[in-house]
């Protein structure tokens, strides 16, 4: 078995080379299948939104002798089986129960059930309804933030790399990441909570970050090659991606380890909802981001540039010179 550094050496020299650019048609087809698949998941399994987005019913039980949270879940389930409940202890003697939005008769029944199970009078149970204020406010503001962030990123990358095509490739790669991650979210039936949104925003930043690191090597290679290069443009891009492959693998592993640890522990201790929500999206997102940079953004960039007349002409010269070198050998 080759060691990691041996593998790195071969990638660096080009002895080992993964055809990220060469087989791009295949990668694009796979990416398209993944994106369409992810986009179709919600059709069969609707994305769950948490109470902050959907609004819902909230019950507060005051004057409880012992705020046992499982009792509240039991009481709600006895009235509406399968209702999603979220129980919080308030102070020493009160329990807050958040559930899906309930009809009036259901609300009355749950109130009665809660009063009975905690052994308090029905007047100690207050019920109310949560308007989806967080969801509306935050979604609107986040979308604005997202749009402005993408526009600025587009500009910065275009200025830094001196080509807007890298910006386009990076942002398409990002969309790929977001769609697939949300799809995975839906498949696992995790609900989209404020914490999950924060996770998505992290991925947003991480995905562009990861693409930028790889693209900077692409810039270095394609720029340094200049006229004398023995590689076509696509080959230069491919070599750059291969040369940063070890970095991509190491970074993905290192980023996924802590989030994986949160997920693992969250799965053992139930109730760590916020943490698992954030870490699932980031865990999936970091892996998908690495994939997307390698298999979508980089080949896409190569595809967009290859047809520029200047690059096309140079590629033809390179191929012709190579043909000559081969026959000479």
């Amino acid at each position: 078995m080759r060691t990691m550094s041996q593998f790195g050496n071969d990638l660096y020299t080009g002895k080992t080379s993964f055809p990220f650019v060469g087989r791009r048609r295949l990668w694009f087809i796979i990416a398209a299948v993944l994106v369409i698949g992810a986009a179709l998941v919600p059709v069969f399994r609707p994305v769950q939104f948490s109470i902050e987005f959907t609004g819902g019913s909230q019950f507060t039980v005051n004057g409880v002798a012992s705020p046992d949270q499982t009792l509240a879940t039991e009481a709600v389930q006895s009235v509406v089986p399968g209702a999603a409940t979220k129980v919080t202890t308030i102070g020493d003697d009160a329990v807050r129960v958040q559930t899906d939005q309930m009809t009036d008769p259901e609300t009355r029944d749950v109130t009665a059930a809660l009063a009975e199970i905690y052994d308090v009078g029905e007047d100690s149970v207050s019920s109310s309804f949560i308007g989806p204020s967080w969801g509306q406010d935050v979604t609107r503001q986040s979308l604005w933030g997202l749009a402005i962030f993408l526009a600025l990123t587009f500009l910065i990358l275009a200025i830094y790399f001196r080509t807007w095509k890298m910006s386009v490739a990076a942002i398409i790669g990002l969309i790929d990441v977001l769609v697939i991650t949300v799809g995975v979210y839906a498949v696992f039936g995790f609900e989209i909570s404020p914490a999950a949104v924060i996770g998505f925003l992290t991925i947003l930043s991480y995905s562009l970050y990861d693409t930028t690191v790889v693209f900077d090597k692409v810039r270095e290679n394609t720029h340094e090659d200049g006229e004398k290069s023995g590689r076509t443009f696509g080959e230069s891009v491919n070599l750059a991606v291969n040369q940063t492959l070890i970095r991509s693998i190491n970074t993905t592993v290192v980023a996924a380890l802590p989030t994986g640890a949160i997920l693992f522990i969250g799965a053992l201790w139930l109730g760590a909802q916020t943490l698992t929500d954030i870490s699932l999206s980031i865990f999936v997102g970091t892996i998908v981001a690495a994939y997307s940079t390698l298999f979508v953004a980089a080949p896409l960039f190569s595809l967009m540039r290859e047809n520029e007349p200047e690059i096309k002409a140079r590629d033809e010269r390179v191929l012709a010179a190579r043909e000559k070198a081969l026959t000479a050998a």
């Binding site: 962030f149 943490l275 081969l326």
Partner: protein, 577 residues
Amino acid sequence: MAAPTPVRHAWRALIGLLTLTALLFGINALGVFVFTDSEGNPGSSWAPELALDLQGGTQIILQANTPDGTPPSAEQMDQAASIIRQRVDASGVGEADITTQAGNQIVVQVPGQADEETRNRIEASAQLQLRAVLYTASPATSYVGEDGNETPYPSPDPTLNATPSAAPSNGSDPNWITDALYAEFLAYDCTDPENTPATEPADQPLITCQNDGTAKYILGPVELDGSSISDASNGLNTQNNQWAVNIVFDGEGTDTFGKISQRLYGATAPLNQFAFVLDGSVLSAPSMNAVILDGKPQITGNFTQDTSKVLADQLKYGALPLSFEVQSSNSISATLGSQQLQIGLLAGLIGLILVAIYSLVVYRALGFVIIASLVVMGVLTYITLCILAWRMGFRLSLAGVAGLIVTIGFTADSFIVYFERIRDELRDGKSITSAVEDGWGRAKRTIYISKSINILAAVVLYILADATVKGFAFTLGLTTLIDIGIFILFTHPVLQLLARTRFFGGGHPLSGLDPEALGAVYRGRAQFRAPVDAGGRSASQRRASKSRGEAERRQTIAERKLAQQSADTRSTTEGDD
């Protein structure tokens, strides 16, 4: 002077980092020991403040009341919630959570114990009215009679005339003051909780007091309400260098205020004054010093920067056609949150150990540099969070904790990028010292551009997003900045120094910088080492002859041929060892 330049640079950077760390600890120590508040409590502490979901906090439920008692509309409630959110946000970075519920309630969750100021800020939101001043006096409820004794004013005699003798022609008409009203005014006690000027009818004169109880007033009926104020801000008056509050009225407000100013300007005091009434008490009762037709009056007086800001905020956010009543206020014990904090810390610890093991496996002894950098990162982040909790009221939420755990990976990436670049340089056959310098030169470009994307994300989200996301964006931006700082001031200098030790500089097999293991391919740019080259050549030759059509597969051989041809032209810049 014996030490070469990079070494001196390295020591300078490390000393700089040490100074910075000492400075940060010093600042926090100042906060803990020197800057205490009036009650002697330390301003800062040695632990970061935690947000509501981690340490419990205060929940205040407000009930909104409309002046006519009808239930507020959903739109009004939304407006109320976002205005209260703005108020709470304006008081600090803390993740206040504001939701509406049950049609007329607003739930405000504030981390920690809500102090008096925050409470007042939240509860004070009420309807703002503009009324002309008809009469003003000291808040006394008694007089010194002819006998020299202090005598309380009598309760108003119910037989006194309570309807104006002549119909008042405008809001400043003294005819509003009937005998009954005047008697009531004289006996009016500003401190009596039974008096509820906030709920008095808008179309009648009002007896009320200055909000600090220093004066009482008879005011005319409401002529404008807060909804006609489109903006209010504080600023320094350039002419007299005093703090002032600038108000901007909307179109209708401009017309009405223009008429009021024409009526009031030049009238005898106190009829030239008008009062801003919030929740029934007078915030300010300036006199009209000019006719103001552009709808942009300025209030001057004995303002400080702070008091002018408070008044401007009250005017701006007080423009709600609703009054609020605190329904319940209780503290939340976040048992779930503290449990999650433990889980988070445990997960973070496990994550760190896994990252450490992985770093050591992949980078051998260099892995210790990653671990040390992460430790420095942890220390700096911790102390910065303490200082921010003190200076900006930053509170670490569960989302923030998750953000910090996640940054372990992001931070480690800058080192990974750097080390990979160093290895690439070594593969090009450079000495370890120059590989460290050249690798740094390339890696730092990549790090700067990619980290600036992270910072951009953090800044945009911080400016635009809601309070919950703000906390996260703040953590992200902060850790990214610290990460770059450590990259420059710690990781690179440490490597510069390590490259000069025998263990690393000599490329010990366990150092992670072993040129042999890294297959330093080229001696110069053009000299290939036989084993690697031969293997590559024969394999690719075979493949090349088989598949002529696939250009990328022939890359290796063609690349080598051309590299040989062009070697002399390319070697000058990089073969500097």
